[in-house]
Amino acid sequence: MLRFVLKRILIALPTLLIVSILVFGLQKLLPGDPVLALAGEERDPETLARLRELYRLNDPIWMQYLHWLGDVLKGDLGMSLRTNQPVLVLIAEKLPVTLQLATMSMIFAMVIGIPAGILAATRKNSWIDWICNVVALSGLSIPNFWLGIMLILLVSVNLGWLPASGYESFFVDPVRSLQTMLMPSFVLGTALAATLMRHTRSAMLGVLSSDYIRTARAKGLPGRVVVLGHAFRNAVLPVITLSALLFGELIGGAVLTEQIFTIPGFGKLTVDAVFNRDYAVVQGIVLCIAAGFLVMNLIADILYAVFNPRLRTEL
């Protein structure tokens, strides 16, 4: 098992290295002289030369990359041009907000998506299956930012039930925190619920047609025991690992959701950084998210192997 884990880590490391090269390469996409972008209104040749020296822009590009990578490994992701704070501090401040949103969305998606998938699979080709499929297809097709706007219009503007925007830390005021996060996590969780439902359904259909399920039914076990005790336990594993892999989609969707509900999280930080042309922050965010995604991937792989020993030798 230890060898398996080490092997997965050894595969993940070069991937992370390539991510770092790509993220570093992003800044080279900027049109024009990066020093002029950094200097803003400043056009004094001496200042420009000093900036060029400071950012090592006279060095060959691979030297620039190695310096940058060295800084990143020391935990230095650069400084925000706007707030003059270290990028890492900015990210660490916003992360808990987005994690709360992501966790609530994931819980919502699992609570809706998995039971719906089981129900649809056990009643294949019935009207329940049909409704579940149509709802899932709609969930996948609806742009989540539009769903957010419509919910604000209905629930906040017309009915006045929930606040349209704002954020409160769960540890300061839990009730208010849940109130403000309810709509955003519903919005963000919709597409995920749809994806989970579809995967649960197909995983369950695969398991339900297998021999051991027929045996379980043949020996007279009640339907519920067969479905939940035997079939679901075997179908749930790919669904759980899929959930880990949906993390990236969740963070991407959070950008828009936070924008609509003015939640001061990771997504808001990204959009603000993009519009302030605060490139170090954009780079830092992409790097952190990619690293987070690789870690989630690793955990998913390991979980899979823990629960399914057959895979350990194959991978």
Binding site: M150, L256, L294
Partner: protein
């Protein structure tokens, strides 16, 4: 081989078409996509108002006989902006996927066909690209390239590329083991000829399915980027940028937010249903 290529393929194709035609859902998807496609193509010919013409006497008017879908904050006709916006959305979907196919398929072909070190290097590169979430990558790229519809399409296309690299690679690895590839090699054909004449035509069906489904995600991505101000720039209409403005007038003019969202929803649903239908028709496992 020529018997296999010319004799069996049309039969497989007509069988797929027969299956597709008998699926009501797939036809509904095709109809939705066709409707929006015609609307986008015919935009200059339709008897609708100029999508950019402002009118200070007709600001934020609810739907009426004069303006079927109402007017926006500058008094522009929303119906006309919706029709012209369909061009931006569909162009974004199709062009992005074309970029993703044009870059992803050749790279995947190389990885799957040659294997070994080429495959390993390309696979690690693809893993790295897949580790960066689609929308975040598109936003970052659009930010670094500068906001415009064309740059949004490039950003979305490049973000979707790894999906096609991985799909192509997997398909090529399966096809590579077939006897006819062995035969082509035995008669002395070069790598390029084998890849383009024998491998590529045999991996087209799954690519069509994935391309259709990716058009759907690309349209949502374009709307998202335009909504954030990183796509189509004012005053040119796009459904995403219309929603961006509409969210400021929710209580005064809710119709401004209703139509573009519904349009995105239906067109994306159309592509999703079409993709599912194509998968059922083209997937050999279903036969």
């Amino acid at each position: 081989m020529s018997v296999a290529a010319e004799g069996l393929a049309p039969r497989a194709r007509s069988r797929a078409w027969g299956k597709f035609r008998r699926s009501p859902a797939a036809l509904v998807g095709l109809a939705i996509v066709g409707f929006f496609g015609l609307l986008a193509l015919a935009a200059p010919l339709l008897p609708i108002a100029d999508p950019l013409a402002t009118s200070w006497t007709a600001i934020r008017q609810a739907p009426s006989a004069a303006h079927w879908l109402g007017t926006d904050e500058l008094g522009r006709d929303i119906l006309s902006r919706m029709v012209w916006g369909a061009r931006a959305s569909l162009a974004a979907g199709v062009v992005s996927v074309a970029i993703a196919l044009a870059t992803g398929v050749p790279i995947g072909l190389l990885a799957g066909y040659f294997g070994g070190f080429t495959d390993m290097a390309i696979s690690r590169f693809t893993d790295a690209l897949l580790a960066m979430p689609f929308l975040i990558t598109a936003i970052a790229l659009a930010a670094f390239l500068g906001p415009s519809l064309m740059n949004a399409m490039i950003a979305i296309g490049l973000s979707a590329m790894p999906i096609f690299i991985r799909l192509t690679r997997g398909q090529v690895m399966a096809v590579k083991k077939e006897d006819y590839i062995e035969g082509a090699r035995a008669i002395g054909l070069g790598h390029v000829a084998i890849m383009t004449r024998y491998v590529l035509p045999n991996i087209v069906p799954p690519l069509i399915v994935q391309a259709t489904l990716t058009v759907a995600t690309s349209i949502i991505a374009e709307a998202s980027l335009s909504f954030l101000g990183l796509g189509q720039q004012a005053p040119a209409p796009s459904w995403g940028s219309m929603l961006n403005v509409a969210k400021n007038f929710l209580s005064q003019a809710p119709w401004m937010a209703l139509w573009p969202g519904l349009a995105i929803f239906f067109v994306v649903m159309g592509f999703n249903i079409l993709g599912d239908g194509l998968r059922d028709a083209l997937d050999p496992r279903e036969h």
